[in-house]
Each structure stands twice: as structure tokens, then as C-alpha cells.
Symmetry: C2
């Protein structure tokens, strides 16, 4: 959609203009590197979009958009250390390209800079935006902790998983859209409804991510299908399949997860056949659609005119109804 | 001094009342642990003192004092990972007691909570205090980076060293006192003079730290004397001794630093004898005293009545003219 492209370009131009040139370079260069390897800029675009919905003059929202993008990248840099991830967006992660100490300290500095840019939001909205940002930042830390806890937990309940992805993914999207709307002088009610819209959209987005890892188009998705299955990652599909197996007193899935001898290909094939047996894909797609519906219900309640709502309906397609 | 003791007790009580009880406990317990192993609470006491200087009703400054203490502890937790330090204040560091991932993420959460408490400062002062806090947080990251850079640098210039200790130590003390004064409704001029007072006091404090590592009273200091010498740590004493040796075309100090066979005891003894030869202790004490004088000059220029200035003169004795 043209507007999204326009907002992304505007943001990228601003990001570039604010590139770190400070000293010591050992602290700042890793952040320039990481910010330059790209990403869809979904979160800052949501900030700008939030403002644009209420005020075509949305440029006041650029520093807040940068704050959200800096925050998001800070959390990725630190998460990548914790998850021992070598690659992000097809490039080396910061701790791989530099080292872990660099990734810790440069990440810290990036978080502080996020706050510094946040302090540039129009004064009348500052307190509300600052509170939203702090709440969100805390939730993201909690979400990452829960995600790490799940790694060593045998049973992860569906509601705990949904809570985790909400904290780890949705809240930043939602905070971005809300902060943008506030800067655009929306009512507090509208800002709150848009927040809920994006929370539910974010959960649907993450569920779709889990689906695509099994059923996406390999040529488009840019990685091997079934990566989550190979790693025994607790996705919503695995959690639902484990629950269905339990109900059916069927141990085959658990045995597969514990089998350390099996080839990757065979494991993916067998797990997918269990998913098929229990109609996991359909059940998870239904769950995803429920979240989309809740998102759209919140959107309907806003005071936005129809043509503006259309943009946010398009966003649902753009983010969720994708095949890669 | 009674007032300092009173402020410290007031702060410790508040800190205790705000202990983390949130979930997930894996995220928050490490912070409770680290905050409870103590420390002199110098930074939060300076916040409360800053407010008390202008307003006996200083309790409004408690959340800002907690923000400063949280920030300080966040930076210690992350620095300890980077420095691979096993012990802090006689107890295990967070990454040793738990693990590095915990120390990264719990530290991150602590930094965000620092901002959350900062948001509780009286609204009329908020912008100024927020800007001071952000500037300080960035400087501390830069100071830590410079400190790490120095480890692999052969020649560290005295001015670079002094800049580093200013960024790593003084700015938090100074920001604390300034923020407290602003909350106590000082003039902006006074707040700025107190900031400069504390910057210079902080540098003197850090120089004294370097002196005590060589010449302190071992029974009181709680660690072996000469630790910095054994580790070839670039202290102000070593930097000045290297400069004096260079002027005298004397290679003995450089040879000692490169000697990996020598016993710790002999190394300390020989380095100390070189310090003696070049009157390093006296020269560094003079430098320290110059910073104290600059601190006192700034103090004199404030509009504070004499009895209030006396407290801040006492602080100099308390922090700098100590033997342990």
C-alpha cells in the first residue's frame, strides 16, 4: 500500500539522518551496523501511521518512531546474545560480528537513546506516552524471560504461550500505534482502542509466523520449512498437538520430540503428519482468525472515518494474511 | 554525620518497601538479591541531600533517589559481566550467582524501572530532570566503553583517564545531587553549581580510590593492597609514573609491567618503590586536592546559607579524606 511505503521511506530517511556519529566509535558503530541491516520497520511505521490517521502532518511523530525502533533493536541485540543466535535478517548478529560485551553495552546505549528521542515528543502528551513506553519496555523484558523459561519447561500451557507472545511481540506494535495516535491528537479512547486492535493483530501475526514455519512457501520465506519442529520449539501448533495427543492417549508425538537419532527431514515429516491427524493447522488458523476478529471489533469502535479504518483493515492483510 | 545517616536510613526503608514482587520471579529476584547486598547508597543519599538542602520536606525526592540507585545497580550488573568480575561487595555478582543471560535481562529490566520511578518526579521539574538523567546514562555507557578500550591500549593519556573516570563515576553523583536540588526547588544556577561541585568531588573520590589501593589501611579496606598494580590496571598513579619514567628515560617500570614471571608481592614492592622515586603519591594527592578546591569553589558560589554549605564540606571529608 502506497501510504505504508511512503511512511517507511520517510522513517528510513529520518533514521539515516540521525545515524550515530558520536565517540567512542566502539560503542556506536555496532548500533549503526545493526540498524542498517534493515527489517520491515513495522513498528516505527505504526507510530507514523497512528499519527497520520488523525493528522496528515505526522512529522512530529518521527522522534517517537525512532524511539520505538531503537527500543526494538536494543531488545533484538540483547535477545540474540541470550538465544545465542548467529544470524539476524541474513547478517551476523552484533555479538557474533563484534563480541558479547559490545552487544551488551551498545544495546544499553541504544535503549538510553530510545528514551532520549522519546523526550522529544510534544510536551502535552509526554507523560502518557512515557508511561506507555515504560510499561511496554517492562513487558518485553518479562516476555523474553517467559520465553527463556519455556525452553526448559516440559509443559507449556496455551494461555501462557499466548501471554508470552503478547508480551514479546504485540505490546511494542500496540504501543507504537497508540503513541502515534496520541501525537496525532486522537482521543484517549481511540488510542486505547487502537492499542487493543494492535495487541490482537500482533498475536494473530505471531500465530501466523508459527503457521508459516510449517506451511509457508519455502521459496519466499527464505529459510527451510520446519525449523521450529527440528528445534522442538514450543509453537502454538506444537502446544495444541501435544494437548490433542494427550486427550487421545497417543504418545507418538512425545516420542518424536525425545528421539535424538531421527533425521531432521523424517522428524519434520512425521510431526507434520501428526499435525494433520489432529487438524492442527485448521484449529490454529481458527484461533488466528478469532484474534483478527477481535482486532477488527476494536477498530470498528474507534471514531475514525471509514476511509481511515480501511488502511488498518489493509494492515491485517499485509501482516497476517501473508504466505511468507 | 547524622543527616547522612538519617537520609540513608530513609532511603533504605523506601528501597525495601519497593522491593520487586512481580512475576516472573526469574527476572526480578536477581535484582532484589543485588540491591540487598548493600553498598553505601551514596548516589541516592546525594539525591535526598540535594532536595534537603533547599527543602526540609525532601520525601518527594525518594522516587528519583530510587531511580538513580536502580540505574547505578543496572550499570554494575552489566559492567560485572563485561569485566568478568566474580565478586562485588563481598558477594557473588549476578552473572556468577545466576548466569550471564539473567544478568543481562534483569539488568535491562532494572534500567527500565529506573525510568519508571523517574517518571514520578514532580511534573514541573520533569523535563529538566529527564534530560539530565538521559545525558548521564549515555555518559556512563561511554565511560564504560572507554574503560574497556584502555585495557588494550598501551598508552593512556592522563586527560583521557580523567575524562573516563568523570564519565564512569562522577556524572551519576553529580546528576543525583542536581536532580535532588531541582526537586527541592533550587534555582537552575544553584543546581548547575552543585553539579560541578559533585563532578569535581567525584573525580577526587576516584583518585583517592586509586591512592588507597596502594596506600590504604589494609585492615580497613577489606582487600589486599596493590590489587591494581598486580593487574597492571591503568590508574592515575601508574599513568603518572609511566610519564615520569619516560621523561627520565627509565625503562624499569615498563619492564616490570611486562614481566609475567615475577611474584605478586615483589611486583607490588618494586612498583611502589618506583612510585616513591618519582614522588607519585604526593603528585597525585596534589591533583586530588586541586579537584577538591575546584569543588569547593563551585560550592561557595551557590546561594546556600553557610550552615548548608557546611554539610557539603563535610561530604568532601567523608568521601575523599578517608583512609579506607
Amino acid at each position: 500500500m502506497e501510504l505504508i511505503t511512503e511512511l517507511r521511506e520517510k522513517f528510513n530517511k529520518y533514521l539515516k539522518s540521525q545515524e550515530f556519529t558520536q565517540s567512542p566509535k566502539e560503542l556506536y558503530e555496532p548500533n549503526n551496523y545493526f540498524l542498517n541491516i534493515g527489517g520491515k520497520r513495522m513498528r516505527p511505521v505504526l507510530v507514523l501511521l497512528g499519527a497520520h490517521l488523525y493528522d496528515k502532518n505526522y512529522e512530529d511523530a518521527l522522534p517517537a518512531a525512532l524511539a520505538i525502533e531503537y527500543f526494538h533493536n536494543f531488545s533484538l541485540i540483547h535477545d540474540d546474545i541470550m538465544d545465542d543466535a548467529p544470524i539476524r535478517r541474513g547478517q551476523l548478529t552484533v555479538h557474533e560480528k563484534f563480541d558479547a560485551n559490545t552487544a551488551i553495552l551498545s544495546g544499553d546505549a541504544l535503549l538510553v537513546y530510545a528514551y532520549k528521542y522519546l523526550s522529544q515528543v510534544p510536551e502535552k502528551h509526554f507523560k502518557k506516552i512515557f508511561d506507555t513506553f515504560n510499561k511496554t519496555a517492562i513487558e518485553v523484558c518479562e516476555g523474553q524471560q517467559l520465553d527463556m523459561n519455556f525452553e526448559t519447561q516440559k509443559n507449556v500451557k496455551e494461555e501462557d504461550y499466548l501471554n508470552m507472545i503478547c508480551l514479546k511481540t504485540s505490546v511494542v506494535l500496540a504501543a507504537g500505534l497508540k503513541i502515534g495516535a496520541l501525537i496525532g491528537n486522537s482521543t484517549l479512547d481511540d488510542a486505547q482502542l487502537l492499542y487493543q486492535y494492535a495487541i490482537n493483530l500482533g498475536i494473530a501475526f505471531q500465530i501466523q509466523d508459527d503457521i508459516l514455519d510449517c506451511y509457508g512457501e519455502e521459496s519466499l520465506i527464505g529459510k527451510q520449512l520446519g525449523g521450529d519442529i527440528i528445534q522442538n520449539k514450543k509453537t502454538i501448533l506444537l502446544i495444541r498437538a501435544l494437548e490433542a495427543s494427550k486427550q487421545a492417549q497417543d504418545n507418538s508425538l512425545i516420542r518424536l520430540l525425545e528421539d535424538e537419532e531421527i533425521s531432521k527431514e523424517l522428524k519434520v515429516e512425521k510431526v507434520l503428519s501428526i499435525y494433520k491427524k489432529y487438524h492442527i493447522k485448521e484449529s490454529v488458523e481458527n484461533l488466528r482468525n478469532s484474534y483478527i476478529n477481535i482486532a477488527l471489533e476494536h477498530l470498528e469502535k474507534t471514531s475514525l472515518p471509514e476511509d481511515r479504518k480501511t488502511i488498518l483493515k489493509y494492515l491485517v492483510d499485509y501482516l497476517v494474511n501473508r504466505t511468507y
